[in-house]
C-alpha cells in the first residue's frame, strides 16, 4: 500500500466531478425515458392488439439479447449518420453524449418494460374487471387503477434497476465519453496514478450504490403492510 500515491487527488477532483455530472445526466435521463417508454412498451405488450404486442415484444427481446457494449458501439456508429440525414446537424457536435443517451434510454426501456409488465400482471385481473364494470375504458383502467397499484408494488425493483443503470453508465468508456470512470482512468494514464484512480472510483461507486441499495431495502421493509 505504501507504493500508492494519493497526493494528486485533491487537484483532480474538479475533473472527476465533471465526469460525475455526465454520469448523472445519462443516468437520470435514461431512468426517466426508460420508465416512460418501458410503461408504454409493457402496456403495448399486454394490450391484446397483435401488431403492437408483436412490436413491443420484438423491441424488448432485441435489446435484451445483446451486450450493452455492442449497443453503445452501434449507436455511436449510427447516430451521427442519422442526425446528418434527418436534421442536418454536422457530425462534429458532441455526438458521444447524445448517442450514449439515446442508446441507454432505449436499452433501459427494454429492461424496465419487463419489470413493469410483471408488475402489471401481478395486479389481480378482478381489479381490471371491476373497473370495466364501472364503465371505464381500457386507458382509464390502466391509468387510474392498474398502473398506480403496479408501480407501488414495483418501486423497489425500479429503484434497483436504477442502481444497475448508474453502474452501467461506466461502459461509455468504450466510446471514449468522459464520464466519471473514464475521467478517472484518463487522469490515471496521464499522471501515472492508474491504480489510485481505479481504487478511488471503485470506492465512490461502492459508497453511492451501497447507500442507495440500503435506502431501497428500508423502503421495502416499510412497504410490507
Amino acid at each position: 500500500m505504501e507504493r500508492l500515491d494519493w497526493s494528486g487527488l485533491p487537484q483532480v477532483l474538479p475533473t472527476l466531478w465533471s465526469g460525475m455530472q455526465i454520469t448523472l445526466q445519462i443516468t437520470l435521463l435514461a431512468i426517466v425515458l426508460g420508465i416512460v417508454c418501458g410503461t408504454v412498451l409493457a402496456t403495448m405488450r399486454l394490450s391484446g392488439v397483435k401488431p403492437l404486442a408483436y412490436f413491443a415484444n420484438l423491441f424488448v427481446t432485441v435489446f435484451r439479447s445483446f451486450p450493452l457494449v455492442l449497443v453503445l458501439l452501434w449507436f455511436f456508429l449510427l447516430i451521427p449518420q442519422l442526425l446528418q440525414a434527418l436534421l442536418r446537424i454536422p457530425a462534429t457536435t458532441d455526438i458521444r453524449l447524445v448517442s450514449a443517451m439515446v442508446a441507454f434510454s432505449l436499452f433501459e426501456a427494454a429492461y424496465y418494460a419487463e419489470i413493469i409488465r410483471a408488475g402489471i400482471q401481478a395486479v389481480p385481473r378482478a381489479q381490471f374487471n371491476a373497473s370495466l364494470a364501472l364503465g371505464m375504458r381500457y386507458v382509464q383502467v390502466m391509468r387510474l387503477v392498474v398502473l398506480p397499484q403496479a408501480f407501488r408494488a414495483m418501486l423497489p425493483l425500479l429503484l434497483t434497476q436504477a442502481i444497475v443503470l448508474f453502474q452501467d453508465t461506466s461502459l461509455v468508456y468504450v466510446i471514449g465519453l468522459a464520464d466519471f470512470f473514464r475521467s478517472a482512468t484518463n487522469i490515471g494514464d496521464r499522471d501515472g496514478t492508474a491504480v489510485e484512480m481505479v481504487l478511488f472510483s471503485g470506492l465512490v461507486y461502492f459508497l453511492i450504490c451501497g447507500a442507495t441499495s440500503g435506502i431501497v431495502k428500508l423502503l421495502q421493509k416499510k412497504a410490507v403492510r
Partner: protein, 241 residues
C-alpha cells in the same frame, strides 16, 4: 329490460354455456343458483360483456351488446356489478373509490361525485369511514362499500356475483340486508348466490343452472315448493340442510 337470447360460450373446446336464455323485466329480482362449475358466474359476467360469447345475443334495454356501434363503457356504467371479492381499489380511500368512475366516466365534477358518494355511504351505514382505506375495513364493510360504489353510477340494474361467498358468517347478514332493501325499492337485480334465505325473501324468480345449461326458470314459490327437475331437487336438499 335485460335479455339473454340463446347464449353459448366455449373455452377452447369446452362448452361452458349451452344455449342459455333469460329475460329479466324491470324491477324483477332473479336469483341464479346451481352447483359450482355450472357456469352461473360466467353467465352473469356475459351480461356486462366481461365475458365474451360465441353465439347468441344480449340486450340491455334496446341496446344489443355485440352491435358494432354499441358504447360498451357507457352500457357498463348503466349496469352495476358487485364481485365476490369486493374489488375495491386498495390505493384509493373509500370516498375516492366511490368518486373515481363518477368523475371519469360520468364526467361529474368532484363535489357532485363526493356528495353522491357520501349519500350512498350513509345509506349503507358507512359514512364515518369515508376517508379510510379498503384494507382498514372488514369484509362485510368492504362489500357494502362495493355496493355503494356501483350505486353511485345510478344504474338501472345490478348484478351480484356471489356477493357473500367470501364473507365470514357473521358479516353475511349486514350485506344481505342492504341487498334486500335494494330489492324492495324496486331495483332490477340478477344475483348469483347460495343464500336461499335471500331468494325466498325478495326474489321474484329462481333460475337453476347445471353444467352450463339453464335447467329451471320458475317463479320463486313454485321453485321452492316443487322443483321440476331431479337435479334441482338434489341441489336444494343439499343446500337447505
Amino acid at each position: 329490460m335485460i335479455s339473454l337470447n340463446n347464449i353459448s360460450k366455449w373455452y377452447g373446446s369446452f362448452q361452458v354455456l349451452k344455449d342459455c336464455s333469460l329475460e329479466v323485466a324491470k324491477g324483477e329480482v332473479v336469483v341464479v343458483c346451481g352447483p359450482s362449475g355450472s357456469g352461473k358466474s360466467t353467465l352473469i359476467k356475459t351480461v356486462n360483456a366481461l365475458e365474451s360469447i360465441q353465439q347468441g345475443k344480449i340486450f340491455i334495454g334496446e341496446h344489443e351488446l355485440s352491435h358494432p356501434r354499441s358504447n360498451l363503457p357507457a352500457l357498463r356504467a348503466k349496469v352495476g356489478m358487485v364481485f365476490q371479492h369486493f374489488e375495491l381499489f386498495p390505493h384509493l380511500s373509500i370516498i375516492e373509490n366511490l368518486a373515481l368512475a363518477q368523475i371519469h366516466v360520468l364526467h361529474r365534477n368532484k363535489d357532485e361525485a363526493y356528495q353522491k358518494g357520501n349519500k350512498l355511504l350513509e345509506r349503507v351505514g358507512l359514512r364515518a369511514h369515508s376517508k379510510k382505506f379498503p384494507g382498514q375495513l372488514s369484509g362485510g364493510q368492504q362489500q357494502r362499500v362495493a355496493i355503494a360504489r356501483a350505486l353511485c353510477m345510478d344504474p338501472m340494474a345490478m348484478l351480484f356475483d356471489e356477493p357473500t361467498s367470501a364473507l365470514d358468517p357473521e358479516m353475511i347478514n349486514e350485506v344481505l340486508d342492504v341487498m334486500v332493501e335494494l330489492a324492495q325499492e324496486g331495483m332490477t337485480m340478477i344475483c348469483v348466490t347460495h343464500e336461499m334465505g335471500f331468494a325466498r325473501k325478495v326474489a321474484h324468480r329462481v333460475v337453476f343452472m347445471d353444467q352450463g345449461e339453464i335447467i329451471e326458470d320458475q317463479r320463486k314459490d313454485a321453485f321452492f315448493a316443487n322443483p321440476s327437475s331431479v337435479r334441482a331437487r338434489e341441489f336444494l336438499s343439499r343446500i337447505l340442510h
